[in-house]
Symmetry: C2
Subunit: 346 residues, 2 copies
DNA sequence: AAGGATTGTGCAAACGTTTGCGGTTGGTAA
DNA sequence: TTACCAACCGCAAACGTTTGCACAATCCTT
């Protein structure tokens, strides 16, 4: 069945295609009577504008490019959902490209976005990405860009990130307020930016509370298995910690069995808090309190900002610095996590 | 900076745009010499074809629509990854639409795919979807469709699904082979198709092994909390089961703590097996053996089939019945899951 | 009643590609 | 020489929309 076009409508009503076009978008030049007539016919014939033709004229589509390194970490599925939700409300659709943490693939994906005349680009950079040369074509095209999660500080784009430094501080504060005095931290690979930020927040908070900052209480683990060892090691110390901060889902997954194996009573002998990208803590036993990094919220905000840029074109001003948004983390306190010995701190 | 077009190339070389177009796609009418010249110039000027113009002519884009109910269940992130991987290899990009398990939204999304002239459609139906009326426009457009995961049996499209019936059987067989004789099953809501299929597989296997099929050993739970109760209930029976089959991630998450609370030794006193959509079992303690539903594989296969259809147009033949693909499940046996009392069955 | 402003519509070009057809070369065979 | 054929390339229309401009008809001025 032939798709019905503006020309068809024009022919049926005996008017010019341009008139149909204008009528459909409530152009004041067209008389209200004709306008109604056109719309009614368009409706009954199920007319749908041909996006390709529109895009060709407009040099811009109703698509938004999303370039991320992964889909499978807990964070991203929520992120996608948040983005899709907002975009759909604004009449945009999402084209999803995966970079697999490879710069080359990322550049390729950006090229694809360019080729599809996306109205905007959302990107979380790959591990290999150190600069924004491969974004040049987007800039030249005047396409607004927003970064999130994995961002490049120096890039002059809008960004939505989480505050790893203060989040780690918040975690320590929670433990301290619960009465913990010897707080250990298990961190990921120190090469990662988030590790450094969280570590800094961790030690800063300890200092603020006048608690000891000892290398004996700071561990690094690249995976759950190593985290398990760290936990055991920590508990074998002459003065085992009475509070533990686990930096990520991966860490807590490994550390928790390690603690259980050590026969430590949780949370009576040792409080635990971790940072999580999703729902994993809900599934752990014993349950632990955690700071939830809400991917949905990040996606929502980032998409909202992108839509704003598309609308107002602020990013086109020369020297536009990009607007940073830092998201607050939410503390989720599950039933069995708080130490019985009541808060002594503060 | 102005985007460079075929016309620009034509002007620079003093030839007609049509010649450029042909040269670029190795049309035999164009002399090899000119062909090379054109390509070199295109390269140095970074010429990129305008997709919108191409699509307008071709009435088809290099986009594939993906319509799914959710992103956050374990299954989908892997699925997306698998799809994206294959599609990228074939030169297609993914446009992602979420239906949130709502029929209306699903129809809307299909409309969007239509409007974007997608080359193909991949869909997992919403819970509300009972028929395929809203896919009519796709059919009329001759767009190939493949369903996966949540499919409609009667729809004449290609499909990729998992075999819930035999998977459940496989699970029971595993338990029986491990020496279990009183096998209980905890299932989800009986209204769901997969519940019925898995339940049928479960009982069929029990019969096959000559094991008792008793309502006392069959439980239904809508969420983890109910699963926990079921587990406790099962273990309080005069003859508690020595093997338990948990139908889903949700079930096992609830059931496992319930079993631990009952003081049952796992796996010595009771073996456990579950079906999982992802990586959750890796995070559970004690670890359980599970049948892994590999979303990546489903996505990969589905995308591969779609690409095949796009290429060969088989779906256009009147009466094309659709090609069903049933994926085998993979048994993942983690360290601590097998009952010590060695296999007696078979 | 004539002039000007206003309102409503049509014309045609343009966006960048693709493609059927026709036309121009040069060469070969009759 | 003429006729024909192959090899190369240009012309122009088409895909469906949008939009600046021209134009006709109607209205309100004075």
């Amino acid at each position: 069945m032939k798709r019905i076009t503006i020309k068809d409508l024009a022919q049926q009503l005996g008017v010019n295609p341009s008139t149909i076009s204008r009528a459909l978008k409530d152009h004041p030049d067209i008389s209200p009577a004709l306008r109604e007539q056109v719309k009614k016919l368009a409706d009954t014939l199920h007319y749908r504008p041909n996006y390709m033709a529109v895009n060709l004229r407009r040099r811009s589509s109703r698509l938004v490019g999303l370039v991320i390194p992964e889909t499978i970490m807990f964070f991203y599925p929520y992120l996608i959902k948040g983005i899709e939700h907002v975009l759909h409300r604004h009449g945009y659709s999402l084209i999803m490209l995966l970079s697999n943490d490879a710069l080359e693939r990322e550049a390729e994906n950006i090229q694809i976005c360019f080729d599809n005349d996306v109205a905007g680009l959302m990107i979380a950079f790959s591990r290999e990405t150190k600069n924004i040369h491969h974004l040049e074509l987007m800039e030249e095209a005047g396409t607004p860009i927003v970064m999130f999660d994995k961002v490049l500080e120096e890039a002059p784009y809008d960004s939505v990130v989480l505050d790893d430094f203060s989040d780690a501080m918040m975690a320590v504060r929670y433990l301290a307020d619960t009465g913990c005095r010897r707080i250990a931290g298990i961190f990921g690979n120190l090469n990662m930016r988030i590790t450094q930020l969280r570590l800094n927040g961790f030690t800063a908070a300890l200092k603020q509370y006048g608690l000891p900052v000892s290398p004996d209480y700071i561990f690094f683990a690249d995976d759950p298995a190593q985290a398990l060892e760290c936990a055991q090691l920590a508990m074998q110390a002459p003065q085992p910690p009475d509070g533990i901060f686990a930096m990520t889902d991966e860490i807590i997954v490994g550390a928790l069995p390690g603690l259980l194996d050590s026969g430590i009573k949780i949370p009576d002998a040792c409080s635990i808090i971790c940072m999580s990208d999703g729902i994993l803590p809900y599934f752990l036993r014993p349950q632990v309190t955690f700071l939830r990094h809400d991917g949905y919220e990040v996606g929502r905000m980032a998409a909202e900002q992108l839509c704003a840029l598309i609308r107002n074109g602020e990013h086109l001003k020369p020297g536009y610095p990009g607007k940073q948004t830092v998201l607050q983390t939410q503390l989720v306190e599950l039933a069995t996590t708080r130490k019985r010995t009541e808060a002594a701190g503060r």
